[in-house]
Subunit: 341 residues, 2 copies
DNA sequence: AATTGGCAATCAAACAAAAAGAGTGCTAAC
DNA sequence: GTTAGCACTCTTTTTGTTTGATTGCCAATT
């Protein structure tokens, strides 16, 4: 099962070539483009070997080879060259972040946009909700006889508006009081801390127990998965790639995932805590569109996770470029955020 | 230029048939399906007349007829049958609104979703921001040395988070004071009223003039066009329709409009004040995808406009169904909102 | 034992020609 | 005004042929 050096090289060439041309790769083209000293017959037997091992596929007997999912996996982990960004690209990224950012969501928007532009793939991002964030402001006030509006602002300026069901019998005064109590109780606390508190609340604020529990639920929901904060860009770019050009089933499938913020939030929040760059290939995940790859990166500033960004595209994705861009954006973003804060 | 009754009937049949089959309509099929007592030759001469008048087109000499944009226009205004909704559909709509609505955006989301489901087209909605809405709460507080966060809550529970640039020299106290002043000044006022006030502010609150102006800008922007409030559903459904199936250029075009909330907000806020159902056909508008139709409806409850909803799809859209659904959803939505309030 | 040149076999893609079919427009008759 | 009939047009489908790319295998070579 161990691959010879030459097999690896050849596999790399096949994947490289297939990524850039979208055409099955022939033994001849390999000898011409990459390995002049060797004959095509030799490459052919190597290719046969790689196919045997499950790294390559043939569409029909007399066609060139196409990489298998296994091949892509090996490619991203071992085979591909790590390319950096050009000066120009770095410049473009910096410029993209230079525009006046109105709020945190705008920053995410900018990041996602430049990623999509530089890679030419659909890109997606989500600001992280660190459990270390503190609540800066909390307010509750009556909206309808049986509903109150909950307002939470955290350090990172993310705001949550949510309705709470309240008993009609409550007077405006009581609602106000509940708000005051909740505010003095929650303000200044870290989100994670609050979640951990769990059921303690029941005893202390018996009168407003329901309300307190609703507030805690809202906070928990917000930290765990904030689908509202998912930003998407370039959803149509999938059509720039030939494998999606005449297959509207595939496109439909792709769009159904990509346009569901729920699903995207799920995908982006998977196990990204410690890993920096994360590549998920093929339709292993129920939420992933079949025949797609997802490359994600988690960014942090000052040791705190500040968000997850990613690119979704065809299996035949330019991983090298994508990884470079994600790393580049991450670095610049982190610089900006650490300096500004 | 006046159409005979029979010409109108025939034109209606052609459009009906084309809408349901997506195939050019032949004289023979008309006599078979719709006008048994008449011969195909007669229909042919009528069709030739309608073509003369610009209502029909032929793809080539020996093909059936296809409706022109003019034909669609006439169809929606005069020709088409007005069909209602089935009991089942009404039931589905009611069910869709029965789920617990967390906030106003959820209501919009539900409406858009059920519209998309029932029509099988991409649908879009935007809550209206009536100038009559009053500000219920307004708050300003410091976020960074040179930025403050502005928070506005209106009767309809829409909240806007927005950063204001402030001089670093301002003390926290001053920010607080500005907030208090702004709150007491703006709270209770109608949005329209505030916009009209315009520059009066300059004199009165000289010390915090900048801040007051920023607040007013934010309010104006919010009333004029709130792109954040645009909700979209079923963007992939365009692919269910054959004219988009093998034309990825068209799809790309469509997606580029539909995925831009800016453009959608523009489209939805055009001149919808007094008209109830508004049909825009073909690519007259720069913001409209070419070869698309947009059907919008403005809903109101208690005399106040509460939002605009619409369906975007191919020219060959099932207008009858779409109009029925939009009307049906509007009616039910209005009922719910007027009762609840 | 690995490599190579040569060659038949395979298969998709491109092309061409022919046949089938759908629909029209026109005309002469009703 | 309506209709049957028919020639004509143009697309679609079918069928067959050619071309070209590529492989796998084998025997010869290094």
């Amino acid at each position: 099962m161990k691959l010879s050096e030459r097999k690896k090289k050849i596999l790399q060439y096949v994947v490289d070539d297939y990524i850039s041309t979208a055409q099955p790769v022939s033994s001849k083209s390999i000898t011409e483009k990459y390995m002049q000293g060797i004959s095509s017959a030799t490459v052919r037997s190597e290719l046969a070997g790689l196919e045997e091992l499950g790294y390559l596929n043939q569409l029909h007997t007399s066609s060139g080879r196409v990489p298998s999912i296994e091949a892509y996996k090996l490619y991203v982990t071992e085979l591909m060259d790590k390319g950096g960004l050009t000066r120009k690209e770095v410049g473009e990224i910096k410029k993209a972040f230079n525009v006046h950012a109105d709020n945190l969501e705008t920053v995410v928007q900018n990041a996602v946009k430049i990623i999509s532009e530089l890679t030419d793939y659909t890109s997606v991002g989500m600001a992280a909700h660190s459990k270390k964030e503190k609540i800066v402001k909390l307010d509750i006030f009556r909206y309808k006889p049986n509903q109150a509006l909950l307002l939470i602002v955290t350090e990172n300026t993310l705001i949550r508006d949510k309705f709470l069901d309240i008993p009609e019998a409550m007077t405006d005064e009581q609602v106000k009081e509940a708000g005051k109590l909740a505010s003095s109780y929650f303000t200044g606390k870290e989100l994670g801390e609050i979640i951990k508190l769990g059921k303690l609340v029941e005893e202390e604020f018996a009168g407003y127990r329901e309300i307190f529990n609703s507030v805690m639920n809202a906070i928990e929901e917000y930290v765990e998965k904030d689908k509202v904060g998912v930003v998407l860009e370039g959803e149509g770019k999938i059509l720039n790639h030939p494998e999606y050009n005449n297959d509207s089933e595939k496109v439909k499938n792709f769009l159904s995932v990509v346009t569901s913020k729920d699903k995207l939030a799920d995908l982006l929040s998977e196990e990204n805590d410690d890993i920096e760059i994360n590549i998920k290939i093929g339709g292993e995940d129920a939420d992933m569109p079949k025949d797609c790859s997802l490359v994600t990166a988690s960014y942090s500033a000052g040791g705190v996770n500040i968000g997850t960004y990613g690119v979704i595209g065809p299996l035949r994705m330019d991983y090298q470029k994508v990884v470079s861009v994600l790393e580049g954006v991450g670095k610049i973003l982190e610089d900006i955020l650490t300096n500004k804060k």
